[in-house]
Symmetry: D2
Subunit: 161 residues, 4 copies
């Protein structure tokens, strides 16, 4: 059974809501188990237990919140052991052009440095889902699509390992 | 008299419209001359004649159009001679999360490599104005604000040179 | 048989040499066919014929050469049809801190926007191989590693399609 | 008297050493006061007291250390009040292509979002000084140059305010 972990940091609840939509998207696929965790409740060693890791953060100064960055910094003790896992990212932001894309690409860069596999989407939010303010229907759809695509890719990668 | 050049590439007309709004913003300041040019009509040596350079591009695969990139590549023959000029960037895109921010930051990176001075904005579109589809009132305001801020900064830098 | 295309632009020969090393790396794997092409000899429709696409560019103002960008811009006519292909990037640069990493991440962003699958490396050059000046032994090793890892990932993805 | 603050996070001592070289560079200019602070000893409200802010971090997963990010996140309580200040960034990293440039550009993005003024360098390390491992003579020179350029720019901006 392929396992996916969704980690988020959220103060306003927007990023958390996106995380829930992504979870629903993952569940549209069979044979995938999905967990949803607040970063404050996440132990870095748990990263080892999953085939796919999806990380969401509000947009703080064009990048992920320090709480998310700290988890990534701590993950150095398992450097090399996340090789070949699948990753994805998402972000909520206060406004268009406010740093939401760069928040996502910063999380993706950290995943690449772990040797993880990532994938964009030729339709919609290319790097990962973005919400401007509270998630609307457009965002819900983007999040569910990401969840489902991620589930498919994780199963694919796990199948041939 | 401080001189600002706005260069754009535009197929749908959206980026061109943004360029016009920015021009209006520059004109809100006194003692600044502003020129607006299609990149196809721009000679690379003209870059030397201006104190400030603003570049706009549609979002093509998360970065500036090749037409804009070619002008920047050609500018290598004047490498070092744009030092201390002021720069800014803007972009139009088909959708939110579609690469608009990274298009702007890619243009800004090129300006930094020329030793240019750039500035963000703590309000609105932080890296530079972004239009999703045809420029609306929000975008018009962002563009005018950029033009005016740019004019002020160019005058400031020129005053003390 | 999985097929990989390596596309490069090179004036000094440094990027071309990196491309050759990557080709050698791909050949270390069985059941993979690899082609090496100068971007000037590449038709955009050829992208459809390959399971993996590796793109290399010298570092020009912190991003890929306009010649490479033009190919990516033209690829919009096949937008959506590169979904699920595997991508990677590499760059040569004149100096450390000179824009080599951002050149690679700019190419990778374009690949994500095509819905392609990319992978980093937890060892060595994380985003993709970087050469400072003429490729030395370190670079040769990084390039061969990238080629081999890419070949493995392309075969994996193709196997389960 | 123009005032510059250099903030760093350092575990191995490499980033701290770079900070000291930058301080020496600032001191090559007259009429500028410079302070050097470990991020752990920095109160976010101190940012208001300076005309220029230079931030250095080791490269952790392609971006700044969480300790630096936390300071930036906390600075939101003064959002808008750093407008027009001058900023710069630097980073030490374990290896070439290891995320050093993206660490610097991530710090610069945060500064742009604060409405700060930044500048690149057409010579040497374009976005900001990068050290691969322990700072050598090349890095020392880059750091001193950054310090001196920063001092000049801060004085220029302060003179006309």
């Amino acid at each position: 059974m392929a396992k996916i972990l969704i980690i988020y940091y959220s103060r306003s609840g927007n990023t958390k809501k996106m995380a829930s939509f992504i979870k629903s998207g993952v569940k549209m696929e069979e044979n995938v188990e999905v967990s949803l965790k607040d970063v404050a409740q996440t132990q870095v060693k748990e990263l080892l237990d999953y085939d796919g890791i999806i990380i969401g953060s509000p947009t703080y100064y064009g990048s992920m919140a320090a709480q998310i960055k700290r988890l990534l910094d701590e993950s150095v003790c398992f450097h090399g052991r996340l090789e070949g896992k699948v990753g994805a990212a998402f972000s909520s932001a206060a406004n268009i052009g406010g740093g939401n894309e760069t928040t996502i690409t910063d999380i993706l860069k950290a995943m690449l440095i772990h040797g993880m596999i990532i994938r964009g989407n030729s339709q919609g939010d290319h790097y990962g889902p973005v919400s401007i303010g509270s998630p609307n229907q457009r965002v819900e759809k983007q999040c569910k699509t990401l969840g489902q695509r991620m589930a498919k890719l994780v199963k694919l990668v796990k199948a041939v390992k």
